[in-house]
């Protein structure tokens, strides 16, 4: 059975069918991501001062990934334009670059950024214990500057067994740089470049800790929304890469039958890809910068 109106426009809509289909799908996607962004806004606005962390993500890496995604948006539209100009070999080049960009994005996200978080530790202190750790927190300085307090100590956990072993009564944490000199004004705002945890080890008694985990979705609302939204976005990138790979390897068959049909397929896949880029344009500042 031949699928109707894959190339020419349907008289009543003025559009070929797949185009209507992809836009209806994207409308539902807007609501899907809209719901998650709504959850982000709600959780962030309701967070107590100091409980919405800043500067925990690697900004240069996030910027790089944003640039990669934008670049891939350009190459996919150029792949489509090449088909419209009946330049198939050029289309293949642009499509290959687009696939490569998608893979780079996923490798950076899943192979570098996420594992770096799993390896990072944070301990939220009880309100009654904040004074005891003032030398690491610098809250008097922050109060004087009108900035939100620090309620968590983060860094590299040296005794990981402490997470599960109730007999171990304290955490030994190689401190993130901000806690080594907390009253230095340079520490008031997040660093642009990633600074690894220092050799300065602090001992934090479990009795003073409200909750402590590695940077997993369960750590706090920030990481719960971060992993959910970037995870779902990553799945979309993966879906796009799979479709583009199919079009790269098997597009020739369609092209030989009707080049315009392949151009339309690439346009539909491209619309999806641009939407994925569009979502990331909001994800990047909300999680990495603000």
């Amino acid at each position: 059975m031949e699928i109707p109106y894959t190339v020419t426009a349907r008289p009543d809509t003025g559009l070929w069918n797949a185009k209507v289909g992809i836009w209806l799908f994207l409308a539902s996607e807007v609501m899907l991501f809209g719901g998650l962004f709504s959850a982000y806004i709600f959780l962030r606005l309701d967070a107590e001062p100091g409980y919405w962390p800043h500067g925990l993500l690697n900004v240069p890496v996030g910027t790089f990934n944003t640039a990669v995604l934008i670049f891939s948006s350009v190459t996919v539209v150029l792949a489509w334009a090449s088909l419209k100009m009946r330049r198939y070999s050029r289309y293949r080049v642009y499509m290959a670059i687009t696939i490569l960009c998608g893979v780079i994005f996923l490798v950076v996200k899943l192979g570098y950024e996420w594992p770096q978080k799993y390896d990072h530790f944070g301990a939220y202190l009880k309100t009654s214990s904040l004074e005891k750790y003032e030398r690491y927190l610098g809250n008097k300085h922050l109060l004087a500057e009108g900035l939100p307090p620090r309620v968590e100590i983060t860094g590299h956990l040296h005794n990981e067994a402490a997470l599960d072993d109730p007999k171990i009564k304290e955490y030994e944490v190689g401190l993130d740089v901000v806690y080594t000199d907390p009253t230095d004004p340079k520490m008031d705002r997040p660093h642009f470049f990633f600074v690894p945890p220092t050799e300065h080890v602090a001992t934090i008694e479990k009795a003073d800790v409200e909750r402590a985990t590695m940077f997993l979705p369960t750590h706090n609302n920030y990481f719960a929304t971060y992993f959910t939204i970037t995870g779902l976005h990553g799945l979309h990138v993966l879906g796009g890469v799979i479709v583009f790979t199919y079009l790269f390897f098997f597009g020739g068959i369609t092209y030989r039958q009707n080049p315009e049909h392949l151009a339309n397929r690439v346009e539909v896949a491209g619309l999806f890809w641009h939407f994925v880029d569009l979502v990331w344009i909001f994800v990047f500042p909300l999680f990495y910068l603000l």
Binding site: T13, V20, W23, D277
Partner: protein, 113 residues
């Protein structure tokens, strides 16, 4: 149901159309460059203190909306699309507005305020 006869353009039509698309290519490259510059600007401005966190968020969101608008208008061809697509998007916009309005109401809580 079968497709209507394929409307494969004849050579001179293809040539004319190809020329038209090639003109758009420069626009796509320009938009791509603008988006990259805006990304750099977003990062730079996030380290500028605008007086409050809310002001910094507002600046970043204005830039993000501008970038998203460029992607939608140029890359997704919304600058010249059929009416049906705009209708779909108007409804989407209404639902998104309602979603964020509800979020705002839940946070602001007008009954107790």
């Amino acid at each position: 149901m079968n497709n209507p006869p394929t409307t494969e353009p004849v050579d001179h039509e293809t040539e004319h159309y190809a020329h038209d698309v090639s003109n758009h290519v420069r626009g796509y490259l320009l938009v791509g460059a603008t988006l990259l510059v805006c990304t750099g600007l977003t990062v730079f401005l996030s380290y500028v203190n605008f007086g409050s966190q809310k002001a910094n968020i507002a600046v970043a969101m204005v830039l993000a909306t501008f970038k998203a608008g460029l992607v939608a208008y140029i890359f997704m061809h919304l600058s010249a699309e059929k009416k049906l697509i705009y209708r779909v998007l108007v409804f989407t916009g209404i639902f998104v507005f309602a979603l964020f309005w509800l979020t705002y109401l839940a946070w602001y809580d007008p009954i107790t305020h």
